[in-house]
């Protein structure tokens, strides 16, 4: 199981990060956010909220998330 790493993003001319389409996180589509059943948004757990994903990375989360009895994410 590989460790997830975040590739450095070099800002483009306008100050926005340069986008590499092949590296956009499939889970959050690059937004860095996901939503639960109730529509509460939270940081994407697949890319750690970066919105990018380097090929070869394991999508497996590094650690268990903190959730309560009702599966409210506490992070």
């Amino acid at each position: 199981m590989g460790k997830r790493t975040t590739e450095m993003i070099v800002p483009g001319k306008g100050g926005y990060p340069m986008v590499n389409r092949n590296q956009i996180c499939k889970a959050c589509d690059g937004t860095g956010l996901l939503a639960d059943d109730e529509s509460w948004q939270y940081s994407c757990t697949v890319c750690n909220g970066d919105g990018t994903f380097t090929s070869g990375d394991s999508p497996e989360p590094a650690k268990p998330f903190s959730v309560d009895e009702n599966n409210r994410t506490l992070e």
């Binding site: 199981m1 059943d37 509460w40 948004q41 757990t45 999508p59 309560d68 599966n71 992070e75």
Partner: protein, 647 residues
């Protein structure tokens, strides 16, 4: 027997189990509440259950979350929900009528009743002397179909309120005080019950504020007594006949005891990024802000908006501040307009939004990156505002208004003028124009569900076969989350009312060939293997339902995250754990596993035998389902189980 209010509510609704903390109890549910984000699935589940009519005393569907309508998907959902409420005999609260929790409190809540809602802040209606709890969509669908709700008997945590809130301090600061003391897990497995002389100074909506954010402590519910104050509230809503007194018996006991002296509370604020990160406002006063946001079910009262308006009346907000006003119900908005408060807010520089959840749930009004946003909303974990790198502080309306005036985080006591005393309207507006009543049964029978192009019925799911011979389509490691099973991202979420379509995204992050491989043997079925903590993470029923639709019959793991395990059972996927964890290594992707005499095996005990075909391997596995859950599993899941009972 001497009982507190929570015990009375539970005893009155107990259908199974004993009232011993930690034991599973079954509770009769009188009322339900669904919001539109969770409601579309609930209505599709009712359709799949073949339900003729809701069996609860009152069930209401609110449209308060997805009301921006940036394309046709939201309005398609709204029309579907309206048609479903008409077909199944539910109330329908139209978009713009307001946030579910305050509207339910105003129009439908009844002391002494139970309320189950597919929204984690359903507990807010505990302010009415109700046992109100948040749950998953399928739990609420079951309750609408007349089935009990099963929960572990909580501990009852008595909180004695004494003293009286000082000027510039309000109900929000009371719940912050509890969060300051106990943090976001302090209420897990407990019902918080408030009592004592301090209650006199808290009106019904103040109690709503406190009960609402019991969810932030992780509590099963929050309960207030139904006293003279609740009687007055119901009278103001022309519903005095719905009032019954419900107070703790003299000398009633609690599992845990605590006291809050209201006179000692000062203005408090929860810093980024947790509702439990509470400090006095004065400690961080002076920090610049970008936004001040008033509204949400965590400060829904007329008072909350009126006091905000009185603080800024005749003044101007600081330059560059976005001062966002989000009314919580149309009734209240009408009164705020006629009493001149909305004019005061607008003159001061406020932006007025429609009645709904709006920015609280990240639907609009997202703050700028990294800029401080002060909000009267209940939750500030990262991203909840809709901005990835947000910096959200939670506070009272008094602190939000004071800070809007100065442009900095401000302890309202330092404003230098007298605390405005707000009077509730003597005859508040009562208007059910936008709350459609249930349609009579005869008429309801003729109603057809209105399904837009993106809404599809849940296909019929078969019962569990006695013999299974199925391939392992995926073998995964530890901590596989619901996000990896089926992510709730922008590409996927639009299909959540369309099971066949949303299923195409299942496990795509782990292995994007899974969908194709599963579909080839959808009828025969397949298994998956996971490590520890399988199915952890946020609540996502689709993470069980979609693989099931694709033919998943058995999930074999070292252990399961609790809610996902429950969802697997609910949707008819057999969750098994290794008796000897080392045997996880014996299984490989592509292996074919056999389970024989499954029905007998399940009924006879907790241990089953799995044979790996062609490898002469036998693996001992366990299940931990109750008798009730085995029955559900054999029928192929809750939907089929209820469907059969409707006959």
């Amino acid at each position: 027997m001497v009982l507190n209010v929570s015990q009375k509510l539970i005893k009155e609704h107990l259908v199974s189990g004993e009232m011993i903390s930690g034991n599973e109890i079954g509770l009769k549910i009188d009322q339900t509440l669904t919001q539109d984000a969770t409601g579309t699935m609930v209505m599709l589940e009712l359709e799949a259950m073949n339900l003729e009519r809701a069996k609860t005393e009152a069930s209401a569907q609110y449209v308060d979350h997805n009301i921006i309508q940036e394309d046709s998907k939201n309005p398609d959902d709204h029309l579907f929900l309206q048609s479903a409420t008409r077909k199944f005999g539910l109330y329908f609260s139209r978009p713009g009528n307001g946030v579910s929790h305050p509207v339910h409190m105003q129009r439908l809540a009844k002391p002494g009743k139970t309320l189950l809602g597919s929204d984690s802040h359903t507990c807010a209606n505990g302010c009415m002397g109700m046992l109100a709890m948040g749950a998953g969509g399928i739990d609420v669908a079951m309750a609408i179909a007349g089935e009990p709700f099963y929960v572990k008997m909580p501990k009852i945590w008595g909180i004695k309120l004494t003293g009286k809130l000082r000027d510039w301090v309000s109900a929000k600061d009371v719940i912050f005080e509890l969060l300051r003391r106990h943090d976001v897990k302090g209420g897990i497995g407990k019902i918080i019950e408030y009592y004592g002389p301090g209650l006199k100074g808290l009106n019904a909506m103040d109690r709503h504020v406190i009960a609402n954010m019991g969810a932030e402590l992780g509590a099963t519910g929050t309960v207030f007594p139904s006293d003279e104050e609740i009687k007055q509230f119901l009278k103001s809503q022309n519903r005095e006949e719905d009032w019954v007194e419900l107070v703790a018996d003299e000398g009633a006991d609690y599992d845990l005891l605590e006291e809050i002296n209201l006179s000692e509370i000062e203005p408090l604020i929860a810093k980024p990024s947790s509702p439990g990160n509470v400090v006095p406002v004065r400690e961080i006063a002076g920090e610049p802000i970008y936004q001040s946001y008033v509204g949400s079910s965590a400060n829904p009262g007329y008072r909350d908006f009126a006091v905000t308006a009185e603080i800024v009346k005749g003044r101007k907000i600081a330059d560059g501040i976005s001062f966002d006003i989000n009314p919580t119900s149309r009734q209240m908005l009408t009164d705020l307009v006629s009493d001149g408060h909305i004019a005061s807010l607008l003159s001061a520089g406020a932006r007025l939004h429609q009645a709904g959840c709006n920015g609280c749930i990240g639907m609009g009004q997202a703050p700028a990156t990294g800029r401080n946003s002060l909000r009267t909303t209940p939750r500030n974990f990262p991203g909840r505002s809709g901005t990835r790198e947000d910096s959200v502080f939670l506070c009272s309306p008094e602190t939000a208004a004071a800070s809007a005036l100065t442009g900095k985080i401000t302890d309202p006591r330092t404003l230098g003028f007298d605390y405005p005393k707000v009077k509730e309207p003597e005859h508040p507006t009562v208007d059910d124009t936008m709350l459609d009543e249930p349609v009579p049964l005869e008429k309801a029978r003729e109603i057809k569900l209105v399904k837009g192009p993106n809404i599809a019925s849940i296909p019929k799911m078969d019962s569990l076969p006695d013999e299974l011979e199925i391939p392992v389509l995926l073998k995964m490691g530890d901590n596989i989350s619901t996000d990896e099973i089926l992510a709730g991202g922008a590409r996927v979420l639009p299909y959540r009312s369309n099971l066949p379509e949303i299923s195409k995204f299942t496990f795509e992050i782990v292995d994007d060939s899974y969908y194709e491989r599963a579909m080839k043997i959808q009828k025969e079925g397949h298994a998956i293997v996971g490590g520890y903590n399988y199915g952890q993470g946020s609540s996502r029923e689709h993470a069980a339902l979609a693989p099931r639709f694709l033919g998943l019959r058995v999930a074999l793991a070292k252990d399961f995250a609790r809610i996902h395990w429950q969802n697997l059972v609910n949707f008819g996927v057999l969750p098994l754990t290794f008796k000897h964890e080392a045997e996880y290594e014996l299984l490989e992707q592509g292996d074919v596993i056999q389970l024989s005499n499954l029905i007998t095996q399940l009924k006879q005990g907790k241990e089953l035998t799995v044979t790996v075909k062609g490898k002469a391997k036998e693996i001992k596995v366990n299940h931990s389902m109750s008798e009730r859950q085995i029955e559900i599993m054999l029928k192929g899941g809750l939907i089929s189980w209820v469907r059969e009972r409707q006959k």
